[in-house]
Symmetry: C2
Subunit: 264 residues, 2 copies
């Protein structure tokens, strides 16, 4: 339990103050926050709220979206927000293809270039950019970085600690080569997130993820690989599930804790 | 146009006799057939129908599903059906995880073993087994072979001509390494199928594919790679799309022809 972190999106509709109180009550001392609800509550207020409750923020989710105009300024702001929340990890979802484009190779080069432009600022702020390879089913509309290899190739252009990779079981489980690569990734693992793969996928394929243990991902195999890499940081449970979101926040947190304990 | 083949699933609800007549009328001389509608019309009757119309059958879709009990006998039957239809290519969709399993590595080993068991019978029948890597979003429930590399690794255990790989743009387009690998695949390319990637994906992610040109796949880049490999065989358009299926078969064929011409 000492490594568990509750990712805010798992209880998307839970107000931040209630979420913070619920975590404290449940003995959870780590959370991952999302930019939108933080902005809604106010950045400084959110930072004070979690700090006063004795919670630490494992990651800020999420920045990136490099296909959009204004990506540079928006990502600089996200780095500033990470600093304000006293978290050292900013998760990057790199964005899909520009509207109407068929040039995925070009989009991928742009992502590498954009991260190169942001890395010095992030490094100065003490924030690690955690490139998240998203499942290939998101390649068109959410993220053109879809494999461990792609994310590592970009990260490798920068010092470890400045640019790393997000291990998310949901996005990577299908890859027959990924476990051995994770095991060799050492300090490139910036954060480790759990969600399970369940079917059928819902329309839009965004909100049909399972709590750890509910699907077909071999969580123990992932965990072994991450341990072999020497990663000892927080383990976030990050599950987007429309059914889960309908339940009261505290119930979601409890279900998440039960699921987490069941796989470790 | 001389390489175009109309894959029956694109007009799923079109009766086989109407489909055959429609193809002849439109000047299309190649079709890919599916096992279920062929069985419904009768195997010998279907074979006679297409033969008498002067059509050739580019592939029989599809066998595999190695996670099911009875896979061996069913795949032998599929090979016999391919022979009856006078096609030399049987497309293999390798099947998902067995019910309740989290052992995807084990499932993949089983697929390789199963294909090894079938290859001699297929070779004796003059039928090439065309392993189809399916998009990683189908890894759990439809096919544990999800990348070009996985399919090629299995095919490479057998002589070319006995076991090959299906190039389907829909399943492979996201892979940043695939085009160069296809270009080097030579005679391992057993069949080449076109469908485009459009979003949002529908529930179940099966029936939301686009006609070539309607989505974000760079069809010209794929075509270049397949040409470099030296493949000169048929080009099937195989699109599963719920909206398309609601239209009259002849309209679907015409739309498919227009789409095909637009990308070449």
């Amino acid at each position: 339990m000492s490594r568990f972190s509750f990712n805010q999106i798992t209880a998307k509709l839970w107000d931040l103050p209630d979420l913070v109180a619920g975590c404290v009550e449940a003995g959870v001392d780590k959370v991952a926050l999302w930019r939108e609800p933080v902005a809604e509550h106010g950045l400084e207020r959110s930072a004070r709220l979690v700090r006063d409750a004795g919670l630490s923020v494992t990651t800020l989710c999420r920045s990136g979206f490099f296909q959009l105009p204004g990506w540079y300024d928006d990502n600089r702001r996200a780095i500033d927000e990470a600093v304000a929340l006293d978290t050292s990890v900013l998760v990057l979802v790199s964005g899909g293809l520009p509207e109407g484009s068929k040039d995925i190779a070009g989009a991928r080069l742009h992502v590498a270039d954009a991260i190169g432009q942001l890395a010095p600022y992030a490094a100065g702020a003490g924030v690690t950019l955690a490139i998240e390879p998203l499942h290939p089913m998101y390649a068109a509309d959410r993220c053109v970085i879809n494999t461990w290899d792609q994310a590592m190739a970009i990260a490798a252009q920068h010092p470890a600690g400045q640019v790393g990779v997000t291990v998310d079981t949901y996005h990577l489980w299908w890859d027959d080569t990924v476990l051995e690569k994770i095991a060799r990734a050492g300090e490139r693992i910036a954060i480790y997130q759990l969600a399970d793969w369940i079917t059928p996928l819902p329309e839009g394929v965004l909100t049909g993820r399972g709590l750890p243990g509910d699907g077909c991902v071999d969580m123990r195999a992932f965990h072994e690989a991450v341990e072999k890499a020497g990663y000892t940081g927080p383990i976030e449970v990050e599950v987007m599930n429309a059914g889960l979101w309908e339940r009261p926040g505290r119930e979601v947190l409890d279900a998440t804790l039960t699921a987490y304990r069941s796989v470790f």
